[in-house]
Amino acid sequence: MDTMSRQRAATGLALVALAVVAIVFPVVFSSPVVTNYAVYALIFIAVVTAWNMFSGFSGYISLGQAVFFGSGAYAVGIAAKAWHINGVGVFALLPLAAAVGAVIAVPFGLVALRVRRHTFIVVTIAVFFIFQLMAFNLNSFTGGTIGMSAPFLPWTPTAFNDRFYYITLACAVAAVVIAVLVRRSRFGLQLRAIKDDEDRARGLGVRAMRVKLAAFVLSATITGLVGGVWFLYLTQVLPQSGFDPLFDLSLVLMAFLGGLGTISGPIIGALLIEPGQLYLTIRYTNGYLSEILLGALFLLIVIFLPRGIVPTVGEWLRRLRTRGRPAVAPVQTSTRAETRA
């Protein structure tokens, strides 16, 4: 089929071009201010993709992703302090951040995934607040309101940002690759079936709890890892920054804008929203404009683009391509009676 291989070639070419741009980016735009934006965008791409991997595919919207993000951050901070790790060695702690995310997700998921969807969202909110509270209260462990600081890395500002750029790029690419693998697998298929009709899927033999939990844990692991990276980049974590309700809402918004359940959706959503949001935070540190705008933007998206950019654009393209074709495909002859229902 010629169109298929042409499409594949086009996608392949686009990916290569994208890869080149991504790799060359910090060389071209070497100013730390610009790379800062890029690092944050990549962090969000990774986390939103991870969130989408569970919530987008299964339909269970989680407003507690920050639980894993903040836990990963704190894990690195606490371990670095407890084991007196300094310098570049801190990066070895990143797998710990990922593991912490996974370990928290298991009991979290076992409790939260037994309930129906709207209760699930509320449970994630509740757990989020528990974690934020723990960060505030467990002073000796988490540093309380002062938070934790990352060990000093002897790098110049430009080199610092450049290196973190590549690290976060690696995280984002890994997250996207995993998302693609999940979507193509039978596991991903079962997740999507659960989203459409969980009871029916169960009735057809799908082990719903296992599938949901696995996706949940996977999403948490990636998020925990990225949380650790973020902590090292920012060099500090506070209870309200590691467990930030706006963070959760932003990433859900990005996923919605891009298109829930798609692969490119989270990427587009993050690229569109994060730079703007970061700009507002930097520019108006005392204002609450970003909150208002975030909320307003979300409402606009829900009203005008409820399915998100990627599916809506895909729909338009499909309509353009199939213009003029008959609505019902002509009957094919076969050995058995074909339906014309």
């Binding site: 033999g205 076969s334 339906t339």
Partner: protein
Amino acid sequence: MTVLLRTDGVHKAYGGVHALDTCTVEVEEGSVAGLIGPNGSGKTTLFNVITGYAKADAGHVYLAGSNITNVSPDKVFALGIGRTFQLTRIFASLTVLENMLVASPNGRAAARRRAMDQLDFVGIAGHHAELAGTLSYGQRKLLELAYVLVADPAVILLDEPAGGVNLSLVNHIADRIRELNAAGKTFLIVEHNMEFVMGLCDRVTVLDSGTVVASGPPGIIRTDRRVLNAYLGEDLGPEQPAEDE
């Protein structure tokens, strides 16, 4: 003639409403059994109890002699009972083929081939790459039938397979059922379409208000007073002596 599927004295109440009341139904191995009755008589509830979607308040369900009462739906499926739904429940955002693959056991290429075979058998193989949500009602019914076949169940429960579809499709479905039956599958079919039931089933059981009112070959049932009473709700005179139980 062994009994493959049996419910014994099943009771199921929703609040004050007795959906099923001492419901005892037997399905012989290799037969096509029909289950009819006026609306609200409990037919779908019985299916729900058998397949684990609803818990029986009392009574038992037996498959080939072993007790499967209140077993969860995925286990019932694994034990070899497949079931379709009155209002088709398909995975709308997956393609037709993907719908089939949800239920199939592992083994990628083999699973795909089998799924395509089954789609071909029911007659919608041409639509395998389309989203299930775009299928017409009749095509969805066929997809439901195909799902059920994926795990190669021994017993198939069909809930109104001919409901709301045109005549040629009804005959098509009936033919498919006959073919599967000839290959050894046992059927229990809930239907309102009398022609369909009478023409297809070996034995028909009539349910009214959750209880079995009559059971026997189609020709007998058709003229049984109790059945007419159940449907028409009036007393048509003294009962005929029981001819079958």
